[in-house]
Amino acid sequence: MKHSISFTINGEKVHLEVEPHKTLLNMIREDLNLTGAKEGCGAGECGSCTVIVDGKAVNSCMMLAVEADGKEIITVEGLAKNGVLDALQESFINNAALQCGYCTPGMLMSAKALLMRNPKPSEEEIKEAIAGNLCRCTGYKVIVDAIKEAAEKNN
């Protein structure tokens, strides 16, 4: 049986009919065509599927789509406003904080959730926030630098 759910995604109200066994990640990618969030492991290990639900970073591969009912979701597509990139996206570019880019949407969303709850994070807090986001290319240092730079700009 399909469930009728309503939620907000990147500021837009959406109503959908979803099968209970569909994950939030698959709903976002397949039903809403927002393909920024990626499936790396599908099991909570890699963070490439990270989105923000009610202000909190979560692994969208480990949440059911039906659980999104009534929630407010932000994906990487919601970061730029009117064609202007978010400070984090700018600083990721400035610091060359990506190579293949597969982890980047998840990294950005973990970092965004961090800056939303804590605009001036320490290096330790930055590392804690992205500890669940694997990157096989960069070696992380440039990512931490990019998040630091965005935080400085914020303040």
Partner: protein, 283 residues
């Protein structure tokens, strides 16, 4: 994932009815960080998934001088890590909750889910043993409290009958000087399960020790406790007999994370680190 029916009851009574009617075919969904992985891997194929996150009683986190701490079943690890009362009075629980997975995971994972999953490496379970926690269970017959060591029966085996649901975890108030710590030894700092873990807690000079990931269930370290209780001074040297006792008390296996020989070695150092860290908290 196989197909299933999803229900989100609004009350304990409603949840108990659904669980009773569906028996083994129903699974409770909390943060889903264990359940959904197991469903995805088709290790379990529930016909009905009962999401308990709308039940008001399960959302409570409260402390009273008489009854101590109650952590509702759907309270997340991150809520526990950030709770002022837990940081002040039960710091070992905040420490253990912080050891679980990653930041994102802790926004969903719950302590009750950790306990009900009953994995030998569950990070919050050993600390709950040394705090003498009780599991609060609802059924149509009423509410009952079950000591955690009676609740956990084996790997993924708990004392929960069809129609029963865990409302939360009740931890007695602590009177007098105390300090506790959980030491997790793992291959890497985040998103890894414990290779071995030790929870150490001292209250008015009496120690409680529990070992994780070294047997099918968490084990109490009764021998190590007895030795520690008799020590006047606890330091690197006087701790050695308790460390030797720990080796005798555990029955680890070899698995993907480590050999049993390595676990025998690591339980010694983990016990030492947990006890010394607990002493630093002792006040």
């Amino acid at each position: 994932m196989n197909k299933f029916q999803y229900v989100k009851p609004a009350t304990l009574n409603e949840a108990a009815d659904i669980l009773y009617q569906n028996g083994d075919e129903a699974s409770i969904l909390n943060g889903g960080t264990d359940l959904l992985v197991r469903m995805r891997d088709k290790m379990i194929k529930p016909k009905v998934v009962v999401d308990v996150k709308a039940i008001p009683e399960l959302k409570e986190l409260k402390y009273t001088e008489e009854e101590g701490l109650f952590i509702g079943a759907v309270v997340t690890m991150n809520e526990i890590v950030c709770s002022d009362i837990i940081l002040e009075k039960y710091k070992i629980l905040a420490e253990a909750a912080h050891e679980v997975g990653s930041y994102q995971l802790r926004n969903r994972a719950t302590m009750t889910g950790n306990v009900c999953n009953a994995s030998p490496s569950g990070d919050t379970i050993a600390p709950l043993y040394v705090l003498s926690a009780n599991i609060k269970i609802f059924s149509k017959e009423g509410i009952k409290l079950v000591p955690i060591d009676d609740f956990i029966l084996g790997v993924r085996k708990i004392a929960l009958k069809p129609g029963e649901i865990v409302v939360g975890i009740q931890i007695p108030p602590i009177k007098g000087k105390n300090g506790g710590s959980y030491y997790k030894h793992s291959r890497r700092k985040d998103v890894d399960l414990a290779t071995v873990g030790v929870a150490a807690f001292c209250n008015e000079g009496r120690w409680k020790i529990a070992y994780a990931a070294v047997a099918p269930t968490i084990l109490r370290g009764y021998k190590a406790e007895e030795i520690l209780n008799k020590l006047d001074v606890i330091d690197d040297t006087t701790l050695i007999p308790a460390m030797d006792a720990a080796v005798e008390e555990i029955s680890p296996i070899s698995d993907v994370r480590a050999s049993k020989e390595y676990r025998f070695d690591m339980i010694r150092i983990s016990l030492k680190r947990a006890v010394l860290a607990a002493l630093e908290q002792y006040a």
